[in-house]
């Protein structure tokens, strides 16, 4: 039974990452999209987050159950992985979602001001914010650290 729970945990983690991929792609694509109207079109790709929420819930629940079944709650790696997951989720929500708001707001202002020079410059500044690169680095680094903790169970 334990192996099947871990199987479900791994499978749901793969599906969660698949569902999350579109957000990462949109975020990185927004950086290079200089046309405000086209950048707003990219937000259309983000309209379905249900699969992501359900699979994240499944990842967490099966991880917690596997922790009890494997008697891992006394080990440091398990708690570290959980803390990492929470920290990454908070960073993603705060800075990742914040970037979408920043670009969307600047794009809407540029369109409202009929793409004036000043509004396009403000839009370019918003697009060039550090957040996509920073969030991507934290996300990939955090994912690698969590996989390492799960696979090596080092402490």
């Amino acid at each position: 039974m334990y192996r099947w729970i871990v199987f479900l945990h791994v499978f749901s983690a793969f599906v969660y990452i698949l569902a999350h991929g579109v957000q990462a792609a949109v975020m990185l694509k927004l950086r290079s999209e200089a046309d405000p109207e086209r950048s707003l079109m990219l937000f259309n790709a983000l309209d379905g987050t249900r699969l992501q929420r359900y699979t994240l819930a499944l990842v967490v629940v099966t991880g917690l159950i596997a922790g009890f079944m494997g008697r891992y709650w006394g080990r440091g790696w398990m708690w570290t992985a959980l803390v990492l997951l929470v920290v990454i989720a908070v960073v993603m929500r705060r800075y990742g979602s914040g970037y979408y708001d920043l670009v969307e707001g600047a794009a809407n202002r540029a369109i409202a001001e009929q793409k004036s020079q000043a509004s396009l410059e403000a839009f370019a500044v918003a697009r060039a914010a550090w957040r996509p690169v920073g969030v991507t680095e934290i996300g990939i680094g955090g994912l690698a650290a969590m996989i390492w903790l799960m696979m090596f169970k080092p402490f």
Binding site: R3, V6, F7, V10, F11, A13, F14, V15, I17, L18, A19, H20, G21, V22, A24, A25, V26, L28, K29, E37, R38, M41, L42, N44, A45, D47, G48, I140, L143, A144, I147, W148, M151, F152
Partner: protein
């Protein structure tokens, strides 16, 4: 240092990278079924193509590390590793035959650069709204999701349980 475990770690990391990069295409495939605005269709297709390099690099990492781990763990005499390789190749072929060729037809229909066979082509005039509608209505997105999801279940099961 246990090199084998690090190679498997790289294999798993490559697999996650592949899934992350594939997410844009998978999501765009479902979104395209409902979209009829030409510019929005173009934006979705461009988004879908934008993660291509990460996708192929991740695929190379997961394949290279998987093959190396197979040798290091002496698994090439076992059935599950050959079965998983066969499933991966079958999945890629199915995705290419049903997915890539279809989305290049859509790219052509909406006036974007496209591939025919292995030959790249410059944009041509967009097709009529009716033709685009018919093309998008015949989307293989659900079929691709079913075989992709089913294939992933089988692959993860083979890797974790090494049943034969």
């Amino acid at each position: 240092m246990d090199l084998y475990r690090w190679i498997v770690f790289l294999h798993v990391l490559g697999s996650f990278g592949f899934m992350l990069a594939h997410g844009a295409s998978a999501s765009a495939a479902f979104r395209l079924r409902r979209e009829r605005d030409l510019e929005r269709i173009r934006a979705l297709l461009d988004l879908s193509a934008s993660s291509g390099i990460v996708l192929y690099v991740s695929l190379l990492v997961l394949l290279g590390a998987g093959i190396a781990a197979g040798f290091m763990g002496r698994y090439w005499g076992r059935g599950w590793i050959w079965a998983s390789l066969a499933v991966l190749i079958a999945l890629m072929l199915a995705m290419w035959v049903s997915g890539s060729s279809y989305y290049h037809r859509v790219r052509k229909a909406v006036g974007l650069e496209y591939m025919e066979g292995s030959k790249p082509h410059p944009p041509v005039d967009p097709a009529s709204a009716e033709e685009i509608d018919a093309l998008l209505a015949s989307s293989p997105a659900l079929f691709l999701a079913l075989i992709g999801g089913g294939g992933l279940v089988v692959l993860v099961w083979l890797m974790m349980f090494k049943p034969f």
